[in-house]
């Protein structure tokens, strides 16, 4: 027998996590495409891929492939990057995390951070390559160096925030894993 009270409390906790997480992603998305990126000058940095990476590990059932693809496509359209670039990279992020989910969860944080760093190297390299193809101009590694360093050092902060959010909103996984 399903306990109605427990079911309602569990559903409410899931909805709180869902709203909080997607509020974060949507905020990061609008921060990325709006004039507010100057707060992080001198570089243009997006939190969305980091949030997708962490979200796909912490709340895999919230991260549907279609949602990651749509965020990426919209970012491409609004940021004047080659259409399909961020769609493919955000999709790759979610696919990679869901594929290696069990391995990642069993590791200590410094291994997860290393895993993220390798992923981030691939992410930045693909961006440079495809942007160079699109613009018919060779962009150097320095184009993404600042973004790479930003991502590597911001990742632990975001990881802790999402860890706290998960423990704040839900006592257990609530079926989100």
């Amino acid at each position: 027998m399903i306990d109605a009270e427990t079911f309602i409390e569990d559903s409410y906790s899931v909805w709180k996590v869902l709203v909080f997480f997607y509020f974060l992603i949507v905020s990061a998305f609008f921060l990325d495409v709006s004039n507010a990126s100057f707060l992080f000058s001198p570089i243009h940095f997006s939190f969305v891929p980091l949030l997708l990476f962490i979200g796909a590990i912490k709340f895999p059932k919230l991260m549907a492939y279609g949602i990651a693809f749509c965020f990426g496509l919209l970012t491409d359209i609004l940021s004047y990057t080659p259409i399909g670039l961020m769609g493919a990279l955000y999709l790759f992020t979610v696919v990679l995390c869901r594929w290696q989910y069990r391995f990642i969860l069993a590791q200590p944080f410094h291994v997860i951070w290393l895993f993220f760093t390798v992923y981030w190297i691939v992410f930045c390299t693909v961006v440079i390559l495809l942007q160079s193809l699109y613009a018919r101009h060779v962009f150097g590694l320095s184009s993404e160096l600042a973004v790479f360093l930003y991502g590597v050092f911001v990742f632990p902060v975001l990881w802790v925030v999402m860890q706290k959010a998960k423990s704040l909103f839900a006592d257990s996984d609530m079926g989100l894993s």
């Binding site: 707060l39 000058s41 004047y80 399909g84 769609g87 942007q131 613009a135 184009s143």
Partner: protein
Amino acid sequence: MARPVLFYGGLCVVLLLLSLLHIQKADGLRTQVWGVFSPVVSTVSRPFIAISSFFGNITSYQKLQADYQLLKDENETLMVWYHTAQLLQAENQSLKSLLNVQSMPVQSFMTAHVLSDFSSPYVQSVLLDVGEEDGIVIGQAIIADKGLLGRVVDVEKSISRVLLVTDINSRIPVMVGGTSQKGVLSGRNLEAPRLEYIPEGVALEVGTPIVTSGDGGMFPAGLPVGRIESIAGNSIYIGLFGDYHAVNYVRVLERVEEE
């Protein structure tokens, strides 16, 4: 897991191939989507602009005394130049009348708010909150603060996109101030664009001002662009007058009437 991943992955590959083939319709689609999103983006960016202005006001208060003295000294210098300019203007007018020179049209302008800044190592572009319904047309010059910022390359009903002079696709005909030497200002997606097509043997000095030449009818002649910042061999780099970092308001030049 396989089927949705294959579907979305295949879609990404197709879209990327179409992008790399530079299908021009994509730019029209982007601007139309921006037309839908611009009210939301404008609303979202307002608190961040307010925060940035708040911190900007704090830092500017700290150097208020130094700024006051600097402005006072500059004002005294400018007053001297003002009287000189008045004498030169009168002399210029009388010479123009003697030679029956055709006058240049008067430049009027419109102020626009910068909606979004896409500046990155790959794209140097901003979006304005004015469009077709405000009389904006492709090719209009955009001025920020003290100098040329870029030109309008895409126009929708209520928004328009500006290609900055620093963008890799930007090529602007310019002239070296004080001479008749013409060249082309080429963007590099970096802060200092390069001055090209200057013949070898032409002596240029750091600090020489660069203005638009008016060639090709792209921009009116004489718009301030920047100064020669450095010369490295055959490469001449220009420091721009217009500050495109955190620009909130710009002027859109339009030709209105003749004197």
